[in-house]
Amino acid sequence: MDFSYTEVQQMLKDQVQRFVQKSYDFDTRNKIIASEQGFSAENWALFAELGWLAVPFTEEDGGLGGSAVDLIVLMEEFGKANLVEPFLATAVLGGGLVARLAEGDRKEQLLGEIMSGELQLALAFSEEGSRFNLANVTTSAKADGDNVTISGKKVAALNGTAAQQLVVVARESGEPTSRDGVSVFLVDAASPGVKLQSYPTIDGKRAADITFTDVTVPASNRLGEAGKALAVLEAVIDMATVGVSAEAVGALEMLLHKTVEYSKARTQFGVPIGTFQALQHRMADMFVECQLARSIVLMAAMQIDSSEPEQEKNRAVSAAKSRVGKAIRKVGQEAIQIHGGIGTTEELDVGHFFKRVTALEVLFGNTDFHTDRFAQLSD
């Protein structure tokens, strides 16, 4: 048994920490959020140069790893930084589907552009009525000769604002929730018929609701086999779910750390509030939550990297997201409460971490969804 990081993983961790210390303080992050693009192109180029954008991809694909454990090492540090650059959208979600579904030259080219930082992606999968059911796809794709015409509406496509290419989940056949008939298409964001409604998200990122009105793409833009993409989509979302769970672990740790520091510095009734046992025990509970969250995310990442059957992996992922979600509520709310009024403002970073974890709780299924999924997979 060994929970230690490999040399490469440790190096990644150190690299991100150095970067954050040097170039990603609270003020800098606020400026990036307020900028037109909503992320720093300079940082993005640096991430490519340092190889971070290659972490989710296997060596065979020209990447640096591709394992879930590699991913969580990076994502945890991103969580500690409350990073807004679209790593998840481009490299994990969009890139994950490209790596698993695209073939030949196209795959090589796309992955090359992702890893070099030239190409940003957004995955358009969730819909107004789909909630967290990945099989629930009503956006239609109709093949006609060499072309496919896509129509429908997607919501909350992360990085939809900046992505040059959209990775679109659409239905070619079957009932709206049928497992069969779901395909993935690459759609240029500038295509006629693509309408973006862009917005900032509660955690300082950008996303878009996207309407596709008779958007025509060459049939060759279909990634993988027609109608058979659902299982791959599920695997990619599972990987991303573990990724955001790790991001949450990092952010929760910061919430705990900042709360403890604040309680030592904030004086009321002549003493630091951290000397009150009523608050000490609550911070101890926050610490326990952080530790359990960390443990279960490691469990899930190792399961994904193992040769266990798919169902076991799914269960592990849902266990992690469910338990992390519980920690998110507890640690997030306590951090604000113990900070008092100042915690409810945009002025301290604690509030921004709270908003990040609130968003992470929603992504790819909230606590209830994953608890139910875990139960169902246990039958």
Partner: protein, 399 residues
């Protein structure tokens, strides 16, 4: 033992309900239902409608233009208001400074300030908390130094809600540094237009600058604006805080929220062809909320019964504050759960009065996270829930 209203009380309830149905403006109701922030004009307009009816100040004695209602009538009125979503009066004038002026102000002050509060002609704000005096309010440092017929005020106040709208501010200021901290505090009324006052908006997690820091830089205030005696302000303030803590259970508002939650759940697809209202996990949580709300409601009624026979509000108000605020926050959380991906957009301007853009998301879904963030304040303000627990420990449990 019974919780029935008398025939008179039932008639009163009917009268209130009919009045609210007819007179609460439809445009305001639409805004409240859509979770759009009411403007100052909206709030004043509604308050003036109540004033015209003679119902502006349910908690005031009749001699000052109040309703003279019994505690039960006030309860009925607050309940009906909450159920329909009508905003309560902005508390700073009506519920916070007015009782202090009535109890401790002189005749001239009563004449000067109370009628304008009643008629909502003047907007008040609160100058209590300071950056370093929150739960430990008595450690406040803003000073008022007597200079002839004036006080010269210097310092900073914070968590000043709607100070941007206010004409007047009531402040706790330090007038004696040499005594025990509670004994050197005075209660001062200050015209917001006085030179030397400046505001710095504080943006909260929902993106809205609802509160401010207020700075006082050699602000000269007529000594005639002192309430009661110098250095007795803490005593007066404690009275005010008791008033702040009544009606804080928010039972009617939570009932309304719960009702709305069920409606939203019934319209929220579960992704598998059903709705969230049919989802067993969600349904169970709704049930738990409803049960908690019942327990809270009956706790409030017990308090009300005690008040009705002339007992002073005691530490019971701490129970109502703790449970009421935490329940309300839990309901906010459940709205976020319903909204799922639609809770992610951060477009606060969409829920402002003058928004004219294309709205994001279905219904008010994009406001759910904003409300969840904003209402974290509920368990912090009005005496944080930690302070409420301290009160229970000391006053009830004898610890």
């Amino acid at each position: 033992m019974n919780v029935d209203f008398t025939a008179e009380e039932l008639a009163f309830q009917k009268e209130v309900r009919e009045f609210l149905e007819n007179e609460f403006p439809a445009d305001l109701k639409a805004k409240v239902d859509a979770n759009i922030r009411l403007s100052k004009d909206d709030l004043v307009r509604w308050q003036k409608i109540l004033y015209k009816k003679g119902w502006a100040a349910p908690s005031w004695p009749e001699e000052y233009g109040g309703t003279g209602w019994s505690p039960t009538q006030r309860h009925i009125f607050a309940t009906e208001m909450g159920l329909i979503g009508a905003p309560e009066p902005v508390p700073f004038g009506m519920k916070m400074v007015a009782p202090v002026i009535m109890s401790y102000g002189n005749e001239e002050q009563k004449q000067r300030f109370l009628p304008d509060i009643l008629a909502s002609n003047v907007w008040w704000c609160q100058g209590y908390s300071e950056p370093n005096a929150g739960s430990d309010l008595a450690s406040l440092k803003t000073t008022a130094v007597r200079d002839g017929d004036e006080y010269v005020v210097n310092g900073a106040k914070t968590w000043n809600t709607y100070g941007q709208y206010a004409d007047w501010i009531f402040c706790l200021v330090r007038t004696d540094n040499t005594v025990k901290k509670q004994e050197g505090i005075s209660f001062l009324l200050i015209d917001m237009k006085t030179p030397g006052i400046s505001l710095k908006p504080i943006v909260l997690l929902d993106g809205h600058a609802e509160v401010n820091e207020v700075f006082f830089d050699d602000v000269r205030v007529p000594a005639a604006n002192l309430i009661g005696e110098e250095n007795k302000g803490w005593t007066y303030a404690k009275v005010l805080l008791t008033h702040e803590r009544t009606n804080i259970s928010g039972v009617p508002r939570s009932k309304r929220k719960l009702h709305s939650l069920k409606q939203v759940a019934a319209a929220t697809p579960d992704g598998n062809g059903g709705t969230l209202l049919e989802d067993s996990s969600f349904k169970r949580k709704v049930a738990e909320m409803e049960i908690e709300l019942k327990a809270l409601e009956y706790s409030e009624l017990r308090t009300l019964a005690a008040l009705s026979v002339g007992k002073a509000p005691g530490p019971e108000s701490s129970i109502l504050k703790i449970v009421g605020t935490e329940l309300s926050q839990k309901l906010d959380e459940m709205f976020v759960e319903l909204a799922a991906y639609h809770s992610l957009p951060f477009v606060p301007e969409q829920f402002e009065d003058d928004f004219s853009g294309e709205p994001v998301g279905p219904g008010s879904a994009a406001s759910t996270a904003l409300t969840y963030f904003n209402n974290r304040k509920l368990s912090i303000f009005g005496g944080s829930n930690e302070i409420q627990r301290n009160i229970i420990c000391k006053a009830v449990l004898g610890l």
